[in-house]
Symmetry: D2
Subunit: 293 residues, 4 copies
């Protein structure tokens, strides 16, 4: 079976290595990025570069998009030179950005009105996962479309889960971020208590990491907190964008999320202090500010 | 080398299986419990039963205590028939209760004044870990005493970590509880968002559990939330006792812990609703109450 | 001096009595409302009714707008039939809606580009204040425009304060809502503690209302909580809209507002329970839900 | 009718001026204080000084106590030289400290076992109110005893309210503190938003103080926040003691108090920063720390 031809919109920190993995897997790729130079960096890997999302979608079997936020996705699909203006009947579109589930559903409807399919398929795993092809991919949309897209997903990720209808991928990503940030807060308060009371933080983490308090965050980010290594990982500014989506979605569904909301406010302190480009482990800095540590 | 003779004070849900593991490992055990019948249940396993902590300590190489809360530990060590009234010079005392680090340090001083050593060595791992001998043990106290106690710890637990001076074991346990409850809150808010928005909770958990949001809680308690299985595990009433200790300790050290404090208030709702004897996964019930789920 | 001719856009619960007060004070009024019937209800009071904001602004000395939210204000000023398409050079526009300070500033720029002036002048005091002409009015914009608008403000309100540049009126309104909702939360937690512990709530309020805990909320809303009278006053759904603006504004300025954020989450529980159209005193119901009162 | 003879235990910042007001009103006073010199300062006003609470109670018609915290009240009433050892049958005891309602009830029982009456009658109004004789007094205990005590209360306070049975005075005081601190938090977040967004704080407060956001705190403490005047008023360390009582009482009654709990954590940051002896308006400093203002 011939490999699909893929339009790829958004070749930033995440998108570029994902597109490279598609090229490595033998897919042909037509890339587009707002800053054209970023797309051109993929030419050496075999990509063709075009100027608009419409041009990337034209003639493609599938279009993959990964941009910053809900309005960007709306622009890329629904704008004047958007994907919906050229996408062919029966073709596939896959948005891998993290955006509002409500917006994902709107875009899905617009794509379906053109006779094509839409998947919302946000990822976790960060730049490392994008480069290594080990992203977790959470997918919402029609089963048939998921199956068609599977070879693409397998070129980019490892833990590929089809959750449900359109929007379900984004909702799952927001569940992921909710669980993640409160686990970070727990790690950070534990580290703060240890620091304030004079414990050896490394030994404390060794003692608690193996049991019921254990988590990826305790194993991976808490040691960075102790070592004062604040390099991202995942930047606080991006986490705050995602938490804004969590809060907006909770509002839309009329759900109280006191924990996620508290974290959103605490990270605002990092942003106020100019730490927005640091990794999410810098939560510890806000606790140190509060605790005069 | 002859096995130590151990006095064991507090043969409740945790203490009884721990004492049994000592007996299985070949230690002789003199057991004492406020409700004598609970200690007598160990006679079949080879324990001798006495009436007071003082009697349990008399002639023992080491005394292990595991009771409910700080005042109980004070009574058991410092009371009229307490351990300090009979403990021999050069002997070992080990408190495995979860109590105030400040109280642990006071008791340590009283024990040292008798020429004996004190370790604070709280555990995590629950009844299952106590039965299976797989408890995590977090230890504060003098290195020499820890080394002497090691054969006892190895009969009861797996992840045995000496953290620092007296109090360090209790502080580490409080760090553990802090990290644990916020990880639970994160899991519960993720499940609540999934339920409220109509996601398949099982698939959501499958998708997020493998990555940066992963934790023991996501793997073990979140599925119970979804299945509405509220059996403990670890009871909310006990978790609230531990969170009270966290809050008191934070107060003593002048530390803001907004996250742990929020969880403490949310679990109060479970207690108000008569759910104090359920497992900590019942946090989801408070979120459902708030969200009309 | 001849009375100004006023275009009035948005004749809802607040706008209608405000327009009536202008008519009573001798101003001529051309009214417009999306649902035309609501504007027509003012004809008996002497208003002329038109179909679009543009028509209301045409030939007016001043246009007053009071609509629901930021996008409505954008539509009313910047849309196809919007005020900016007809407003005359040197004329006055006054937005009395509660909206985003950032949007207020954008609209101000668009109005100024037409050679007219813009004031953001949100109000507090509710329907009662609108009817009685006793609204508090918080004003942002050029001093000269405020002075020209003063006779209009005096026909509608009592406590008329010019705070600063454009946006300052909206920012002040958000400060007002922040202070208000936390004062409500304080009143509600006090009432909940009284109820849960069996105090006579009325006597408790009598005892605390005169001192440092005293507030408009303790005097006016706390007694309604105790009597289970949940009629608005000010509806929770509207309060939540305003708190959303508070949160968005805090985000824009990088400010942590943990208190306002907590209230926003607690009111979400009222909305989930179908209490969004009740008065803000229904905060007590969320506390009762949490406390099994 | 002859004036009562009053034993007065605890002549600190609050107690000394209260005792002076009793002396001015014609009561004879026998004063006792742990640091005897503080009681002796009242000799010039006509007080007799004794060494123990027992001595102050001996022969007194009524004993008034105002000390720091629950254990102090227990010591003063139930200790070796305590009031219960000498108080006469049919006599009156009045504790005006702020302590645990549960402890107040225990002490009441001990006093009643001696055939005397006990009132819990905590105050608000601070040092100024104590000097001026304008304290608010919140009373729990038997009606008959309240009536007998009324001339004493009238010499010390203005807003004198009998709430209910023993404990009701303390519970009301905790309701007072709960309402007060959340009103402060609301004021502080409003001031922080104003500062961060460049508003004129004074004008903002002028605009919001007259309406539904108005409170004693907005009128009295918010202007101090703006002026950076942090002199107490009421010290954060004392407020934190009272909030600890609120949290303990909520725990005893199984009540969620997320707002009071949040304030308790935020003030911990002030204490960590060495601001515990400043007035409660220093809450703004914690918000400034979080917001990099």
């Amino acid at each position: 079976m011939a490999k699909m031809h893929v339009g790829f919109v958004g070749t930033g920190i995440m998108g570029a290595p994902m597109a490279r993995n598609l090229l490595k897997a033998g897919f042909t790729v037509t890339a587009q990025n707002r800053t054209r130079a970023k797309a051109e960096a993929l030419e050496a890997d075999g990509a063709t570069v075009v100027d608009t999302p419409a041009a990337a979608a034209e003639g493609a079997d599938a279009v993959i998009t990964i941009v910053s936020d809900s309005p960007d996705v709306e622009a890329v699909y629904l704008g004047d030179d958007g994907i919906c203006s050229t996408i062919g009947r029966g073709k596939l579109t896959i948005d891998m950005s993290t955006i509002s589930p409500m917006v994902a559903r709107e875009v899905a409807k617009a794509v379906e009105a053109k006779g094509a399919s839409f998947l919302d398929a946000p990822v976790s795993g960060g730049e490392g996962g994008a480069i290594g092809g080990t992203l977790s991919i959470m997918i919402g949309g029609p089963t048939e479309a998921v199956e068609r897209a599977r070879p693409l997903f397998e070129a980019m990720g490892k833990n590929i889960v089809h959750i449900g209808e359109n929007g379900a991928g984004q909702l799952t990503k927001l569940c992921n971020q909710t669980a993640a940030v409160l686990t970070i807060l727990g790690a950070a308060e534990a580290v703060a208590l240890a620091e304030k009371s004079g414990l050896d933080v490394g030994k404390m983490l060794e003692a608690i990491g193996a049991g019921a308090a254990g988590s990826w965050m305790i194993s991976n980010l808490a040691p960075l907190m102790a070592k004062k290594d604040y390099r991202p990982g995942f930047m606080i500014d991006l986490q705050q964008k995602d938490l804004r989506l969590v809060m907006e979605t909770a509002r839309a569904f009329k759900l109280s999320m006191p924990g996620a909301s508290l974290v959103h406010q605490l990270y605002a302190s990092n942003q106020a202090a100019g730490e927005g480009a640091e990794g999410t482990q810098s939560m510890i800095k806000t606790l140190r500010r509060l605790g005069a540590i």
